[in-house]
Structure formats: C-alpha cells, structure tokens
C-alpha cells in the first residue's frame, strides 16, 4: 500500500462522516486558539509593565509625606509643624550637596476643574512642581516648552498640559499659546506633554502641570507638599541616594527612626522596585492564564479523544473486513494515523490562525503578544493527543484476529 493510497483512504475516512470530523476539528481549534491567545494576553500585559519600567528609568526615588504605603500623599496629621514635608525641606535637600543625588523635584497635587472657552473638564489633576519635573519623571514635553525657573520664582500663570486634555479642551486647534481657566484663574498653555502609556487608574495624559509656587499660592497653600521625586546619579546609586536622603530628612524633620513611639513623617519608595512587583504580578497572571488555557486544551483533547475512540470502535468491523481482504497491520495503522493527524493538524492550524488574528486586537486593555513557544506547544500537544487516541484503539483492533474484529457490533 503506497503512501498515496494511505492518504486517499484517510481522506475518505475524514469526509465519510463530516459532522464527526467537524466536531473534532472544532475541539482542537478552540483548545489551540485558547492556549495561544491566553498566553499572549498574559505576555502582553507583562510586557506592558516592563515597558513602563524602562520608560520610568530605574534611578528615581519617591518621597511621600506620611508613613506607610498610602498613596494619598496628604499632609501628616501631626501637631508638630516642623515634622512636615515642605517645599523648604525639599529645597534644603536639593541644596545639601548629597553625593548620590542629582535632582529633587517637589510636587503638590490637587484636583480641579479646568476649562477652555469651548469645553470644561472636572477633576483634572493639577501638579505644581519645578521645571526639572520634565527631565526626571516620565512626563516629557511633547510640543511647546517647559515653564522656567524664573516662572517658578515669579509664580507665573503658565501651564503644561497632557495630550488628551489638550485635544479635549481644544478639539479644533492647537492648545499652545491658548488660555485655559483652572478653577477660575486664567493660565497660558506653554507646552503639551508627550503621550505616555497609562498606568491604570489615573490618566497621565490628562493632567495640568504648573509652577509649584503658583499652585501653592492659588490652591494648596504653603503647607506640606505631596511628594518629592529624587533622581539618583545612576541606577546603581539608588540605594546610596536613599540612605543619604533618609539621614538628611531625619535631621531636617527631627525624626529619630530608633524612637518606636514616633511615626515616620515620610516614606521613601523605590519606583522601579514597585514596578518590579507589578511585573511579578503580571508574570503570575500569565501563569494563571496559561493554566486556564492548559485546562481548555485538555478538555478539547478529551473531546477529540472521545470522538476518536467512538470512530475506531465503530470501525472495528471495517478493520476486520480490511484484514480479511489482506490488509496488514501497518496498512491499517497508517490509515488511522494519517486520518487522526490530518484532522488534528488541520484543527490545530486553524486554531493558530484564529489566535494570530485574535492577537491583533486589544483584549481587556492589553495588546496580546504571541509567545513564540506557545504555537508549537499547543499544536504539538493537541496533535499528540488526537493521534494517540486515534491510533491506539486502531492498533488494538488491527492486532485482533480478523474474525474477532468482524464479530464486533
């Protein structure tokens, strides 16, 4: 029996029962597509986080007012005013000439209504800071320019706004040079931020950044500031810089870390380590999705197995007839092998195609990135399951005496 003949009888077997073949195909297809796509979604989200880490740089530290890991960033509820993280503290920290600290960027934040002549946006985050904000943090000037140190000194009414906010406020023209009203006070737009990938809850493309002096004078008052971003001289010096800052701040804020009764007036967090944790979370998310996908592949495989077992049991008599006519075991095995392999491969390839098409679309805010190994893995596992359960019972039937196989059913 030639290879061509084997192929022909296998194809005849497949087309003989179209519904059964279609179901097998569908089972394999769904299993393979699910594995590839789910792994791609997990991988995509973890790549997103990794992208943020790279974007942020690994040489910044964030100093927040208050103890603990709260993200509130409000003033410390302490009676002792000397223990507040203020602009003065930030300036003294910057001027202290610390060996591993390049820049200190103080920030105050508040949420306000921002409007142009044509549109108004509620709860826009207003950040008051210094010009080095645009060099140290992820917020970069896209078009226009930053406000200057002189603007900070003079508390000028100039702002840099996020790209999303710019198009919302000025849908038809450029926002540059236009006047916007922040809670009733007019400001001139001097720059627009480059679009950045969003970290989630807050839209970093919908912010207003103004000189810190102006924001304190008009909105927040001269009390505590929310955060300081500290840039270390290099990523290797981050922990050294953290040590220096802590010593300096303890001194400035009269805080004794050995005094257990006192609450820390500030918290220093390493931005990159925070994102590192996020990356790990994304990693376990991928593993979880992979496990779900593996289960769906298994269930699909059991479906295929079932169909294959039924097929062979039904066809044991046919195997008997073929043996009575002089078919050898290899000839029968070859036919069933090719039949099972063709069906599962076809289903698998269709599954890959579906997954690759699906990966072109954003799923739940994540752009899936197909993992190279997932394609041969999913394909291999499904084909192996299909072929094994297609061939194993056929092998059993082919090993029978013809009369046993003929008597079945």
């Amino acid at each position: 029996m030639t290879v061509f003949e084997t192929l022909r009888s296998a194809l005849r077997g497949i087309t003989a029962n179209k519904l059964r073949s279609a179901l097998t195909l569908l089972g394999v297809m769904i299993g393979v597509a699910a594995v590839i796509l789910l792994l791609a979604v997990g991988n995509g989200s973890s790549q997103q986080v990794n992208g943020l880490i790279t974007q942020l740089g690994t040489n910044t530290l964030t100093v927040r007012a208050g103890s603990g890991f709260g993200f509130g960033g409000g003033a410390v509820t302490s009676d002792n005013s000397t223990k507040k993280l203020t602009l003065d503290v930030a300036n003294r920290l910057a001027d202290a000439g610390l060996g591993h600290v390049d820049a200190v960027v103080p920030q105050v934040t508040t949420n306000l209504t921002v409007s142009s002549t044509s549109a108004s946006e509620d709860s826009i985050s207003l950040v008051g800071t210094t010009p080095n904000y645009f060099t140290v943090t992820t917020a970069k000037i896209g078009t226009g320019e930053s406000f200057t140190k002189a603007d900070v000194t003079s508390a000028a009414k100039v702002v840099v706004i996020g790209s999303t906010l710019a198009t919302e406020l000025f849908p038809r023209s450029s926002a540059l040079g236009q006047s916007i009203s922040v809670d009733g006070t007019p400001f001139t737009v001097v720059g627009i931020l480059a679009t950045q990938s969003s970290t989630g809850i807050t839209d970093s493309n919908s912010v207003v950044v103004a000189p810190i002096s102006r924001v304190q004078r008009s909105y927040t008052g001269f009390g505590a500031i929310s955060t300081m971003t500290v840039e270390a001289t290099s990523s290797a010096d981050v922990s050294a810089a953290q040590g220096e800052i802590e010593v300096m701040l303890n001194q400035l804020l009269k805080y004794d870390p050995t005094d257990t009764s006192a609450t820390a007036p500030y918290t220093v967090t390493d931005q990159s380590s925070l994102l590192q944790t996020a990356a790990q979370t994304a990693q376990s998310y991928t593993v979880l999705l992979g496990a779900v996908a593996a289960i769906s592949l298994l269930v699909g495989g059991i479906g295929v197995t079932n169909v294959m077992l039924v097929t062979v049991t039904e066809r044991t008599r046919e195997i008997g007839i073929r043996k009575a006519l002089g078919a050898t075991r290899p000839a029968i095995l070859g036919q069933f092998l090719v039949e099972a392999a063709t069906l599962t491969l076809l289903g698998g390839v269709l599954g890959v195609v579906v997954a690759l098409i699906g990966a072109q679309f954003e799923i739940n805010g994540t752009q899936p990135v197909v993992l190279g190994y997932s394609v041969p893995l999913a394909l291999g596992v499904s084909v192996a399951i299909g072929v094994f359960f297609g061939v194993y019972p056929a092998a059993r039937a082919a090993a029978m005496r013809p009369i046993q196989a003929l008597r079945s059913i």
């Binding site: 030639t2 003949e5 005849r12 043996k323 009575a324 006519l325 002089g326 075991r329």
Partner: protein, 260 residues
C-alpha cells in the same frame, strides 16, 4: 460471461515441508481442533477434522447451526487460528505464518464471501472491489481494469458507482463476489452466501458460483440449505464438530449445468 482461468502456477507454491503434498490438492486439514474457553466452560467447536480439497473442486460443507461449520470456514479463510492441528494451504502450513504472511495469504490466495456481505459503507462498489488489489500493491490503472472486469462478470457493470446502501441485497452480494474474485484467488470461500437473500437473488448468486466452478475455480461453500448443497460437486456434512459424511454428487471438474 467470461471467467479467467485460475492461475495454474499457484500449484508450484507447495513447499518441501510436506512430503505427501499432492500438486492436485489445494488445501488439507489434519486433525484440526478448535476450542474456545478453558476448563469446565471450554467449548469444543471442532473435534478433529481431516479434510482434503482438490484443485477445481466445488465443495459444500453442510450442517445445522452450532455444528461448527462457521468455525471451520473462519479457519479455512485464515480469519482465525486453530487451537490444534495442521492446515496446509497450497502446501504451506498457515499456522506457522506470521501476521504479515497471513495478510498476504488472505489477500492473494483466498477470496471470502460473507453472509452479511461485509462491504465497506460509504465506498462505491468499484472502490470496494478495488480494495484487495490496493492491499496487494496493484497499480491504479490495472486495479481499475481488473475491478471493472470482475463487476462486469457478476453483471453489475452499470452499478459501479453505487454505494452498498443504494444496492439490493443480491446486488451487494454480487459486489462481494466480485471483490472475492478480483485477485484471482486460489480458493473462493463463501459463508452462507445466500443466507440473507431472497430466492431470485439466491439463484443469481448460485449461478455465478456455478459458472466460476465451470471455469475451474476451487470453491468451498458453507450452507445449511439443501438447494445450495445440490449445486456442489461434493458435499461434506458436519455435526458437533466432526465430519459425519462425505458424498460426491458429480465427478471432480464438472459442475451443475455443465455439458456432461
């Protein structure tokens, strides 16, 4: 109706392993026993069968149901292996053959006609008849020619593209006969070939077997119907797993309806 004469070279296949092998003998059974199960539950289907069938003979094996005639037929067709005894087919002891060699014997030397036709559904009559040739390694064009010839011989030249379910019982059995003949086997075995047929179809099938016999083919038919037995040149009766009578209706080489 033209029927190709059997390949006379097949007689040369005899081996030196059986000294008393006669070139005129197609098959020989020596002390064949078949037992199913063991101990108390053992069923002795065949209890020592000795039988010699000559080339060109038309033999009917008759007996009531449960007599062991189907068991005997399955052994003759190499569909089953005897528990004990020797079965020489063309001088070769088939019990010593391995799976691959047995497949070859079934393919080249035996043409089997079943009571229940055993055609493969969803395959056309032509494809069914071609099947043994595929396993025999015959090339596509030659295969088609031989299969069409065999179908023409059983009078189904106009039904080659029909599937079994679109054919009557008699037509299905004629396709099965064509399939049994297409490889020019040494021996044609028919197990109750008319058991599922009406009288008209029975007559058709029997007349085909008669003409095969006239053309010199060796035929062994199993039946419990006397009318079928009458067509054979030799009738062997079996009862409780033993041969009880052996009677010759006509001399070897003559068939019913042939000019005496």
């Amino acid at each position: 109706m033209t029927i190709a004469a059997p390949d006379t070279h097949r007689a040369d296949r005899g081996d030196a392993g059986s000294p008393d092998y006669d070139a005129g003998t197609v098959l020989e059974l020596r002390g064949i026993r078949q037992t199913y199960g063991t101990g108390e539950a053992a069923v002795h289907a065949l209890q020592g069968i000795d039988l010699v069938v000559a080339r060109g003979d038309y033999l009917a094996i008759m007996g009531p149901s449960g007599s062991g005639k189907s068991t005997l037929m399955n052994l003759l067709g190499c569909l089953d292996i005897a528990s004990d005894g020797q079965y020489l087919l063309g001088g070769v002891d088939v019990s010593s053959l391995d799976d691959r060699q047995l497949a070859k014997v079934r393919n080249k030397q035996i043409g089997f006609v079943f009571q229940s036709f055993n055609l493969i559904p969803r395959m056309t009559a032509l494809a069914n008849v071609e099947l043994p040739l595929i396993y025999g390694g015959v090339k596509s064009a030659e295969r088609r020619r031989l299969a069409l010839e065999a179908l023409d011989m059983v009078g189904l030249a106009d039904r080659v593209d029909h599937r079994p379910q679109a054919l009557s019982g008699g037509q299905q059995q004629r396709v099965a006969i064509a399939r049994a003949l297409v490889t020019s086997p040494t021996i044609v075995l028919a197990d109750e070939p008319t058991g599922n047929l009406d009288s008209q179809s029975t007559d058709d099938v029997l007349s085909i077997l008669d003409s095969l016999s006239r053309a010199g083919r060796t035929i062994v038919v199993i039946t419990h119907e006397d009318t079928v037995g009458e067509h054979a040149a030799r009738v062997v009766s079996i009862r409780d797993g033993r041969l009880v009578s052996d009677r010759r209706n006509r001399p070897l080489g003559t068939a019913k309806g042939a000019a005496a």
